[in-house]
Amino acid sequence: MTKRIFLKTLAGAAIVLAAVGAHAQDALARVKQAGVIKVGTETAFAPFDFIKDGEHVGLNVDLFTEVAKELGVKLEWVLLPWEGVFPGLEAGKFDMVGGPATITKARMERYRFSPPIAEATVALLKRKGDASIMKPADVSGKSVGAGKASAQLAQIKSFGDTLPAKVDAREYPGNNEAYADLAAGRIVAVANSLPNITYVAQQRPDTFEVVKPAFGLKSYFGYISRKDADSAKLASAVDAAILKIKADGRLAKLQKKWFGDSFETPDAVTTPNI
């Protein structure tokens, strides 16, 4: 009996050692060796990532194609719903997250961000021709939607606190559900980052309109890596590639293609406002 337990322990130890051995190289070395960088994202975040005529397209697709070229490897996407993306990153299903997230203090404590690739400042989307909402402060005392657990939701809540009457901030599983409810008239506006709602208003100009100016604190979108020693070199290599793509004007061109305009973004992640 004792012998059997001993053997089992030994077998267990061997499995653990083998698993550790497989991870002896760091993430960059594994990507180079495999010749493929695996990037996880969602597909419901136009114009960054979306499905058009059955194809996954958007700024992220174009930008990561360039990044993979710079690294000399192939690009492979892992497409999950947004709520599955962070668990997938932590489980090592892919090397990094290629769906941009607003760079916030809380997220920086847990993850490593790439240099900003676009502005993420929050603005409001309203129904076309709704004369009751002419400036952001007009949502005082009304219902506004945002994606659940999003940086945008936090911002509409704190913005609402500065207004004479509190804003009823409604949480939706995703931004698209919020847009649908706005079209249906259940809320008066949706709070989301400027590039996203500008795109929405362009796609359905008869239904939606952007309320100018943006009300949120200036913030930026960046890509996300694990914040451990294993991922450090890979994240730095991706950072360098992004900065190169930015310096030679390719990033501005892509921004123009997908957002209709290019943004001034800092070269490094600065302390976020939010």
């Binding site: 719903p81 299903k93 649908a180 079209a183 239904t207």
Partner: protein, 214 residues
């Protein structure tokens, strides 16, 4: 909605059908074994069967899928999306089908089995020729029900990265920003598939009745 978008939905339907059918077949095979284990007089075996059912019937399918997809890699077993989806659905439906089949097996009259014993049929022959056919007939309506449930539950596998019918409708509405026509079309496609399943099952039930008259 354009024809192009509709065709994309039909294409995504293919995955819904492939995943569901594979899971239902694998689940039926596994469920038969589990129900046999539950009915076994061997105490450990029946305990194992009951534990399997209580876990896979007791935890939400969504949670099971996330565990299979995200927890197993931490133990060194990296499962691809499609495998995680099929394994998750199969295990879940196996638990329900095992319970259905257990009822079916329990309803086989003991007199028949005694007669089979007297005729010298081996336990295996008794299983395939007497117990399994009767259990299957008894449980066919419940199994059909389960097949339809799985077809609809397959919309959950999008969480492990498979783009099936529901996910495709969501994704497409995220670029057209017109969700209503897409979800209406998806609902219609589910109705058509499940209508076919129900019709097929009815035909099967009828043929079973004919068989028993003969």
């Amino acid at each position: 909605m354009s024809i192009k978008l509709f065709l994309l939905l039909v294409q995504a339907c293919g995955w819904t059908i492939v995943i569901s059918v594979t899971s239902i077949v694998l689940g039926l095979a596994l469920g038969t074994m589990v129900s046999a284990a539950m009915l076994s007089s061997h105490r450990l075996l029946s305990l194992a069967g009951r534990t399997f059912v209580s876990f896979f019937r007791g935890a939400p399918l969504l949670v099971q899928l996330l565990l299979i997809y995200n927890l197993l890699p931490m133990l060194g077993l990296n499962v691809p999306s499609m495998v995680a989806a099929i394994v998750g659905l199969s295990l879940c439906t196996a638990a329900y089908q095992a319970e259905n089949l257990r009822g079916g097996f329990a309803s086989v009259p003991t007199g028949l089995l005694e007669a089979a014993d007297m005729l010298g049929l081996t336990p295996l022959q008794q299983f395939w020729r007497i117990r399994a056919p009767i259990a299957l007939r008894m449980t066919l309506p419940a199994l059909t029900n389960e097949a339809i449930m799985i077809l609809k539950a397959s919309s959950l596998v999008s969480v492990v990265g498979v783009i099936e019918l529901t996910r495709m409708a969501q994704d497409l509405s995220a670029s057209t920003f017109k969700p209503l026509p897409l979800f209406a079309a998806a609902a219609l496609l589910y109705l058509v598939i499940n209508g076919l399943v129900a019709t097929g099952a009815q035909a099967l039930e009828r043929s079973f009745r004919w068989g028993s008259k003969a």
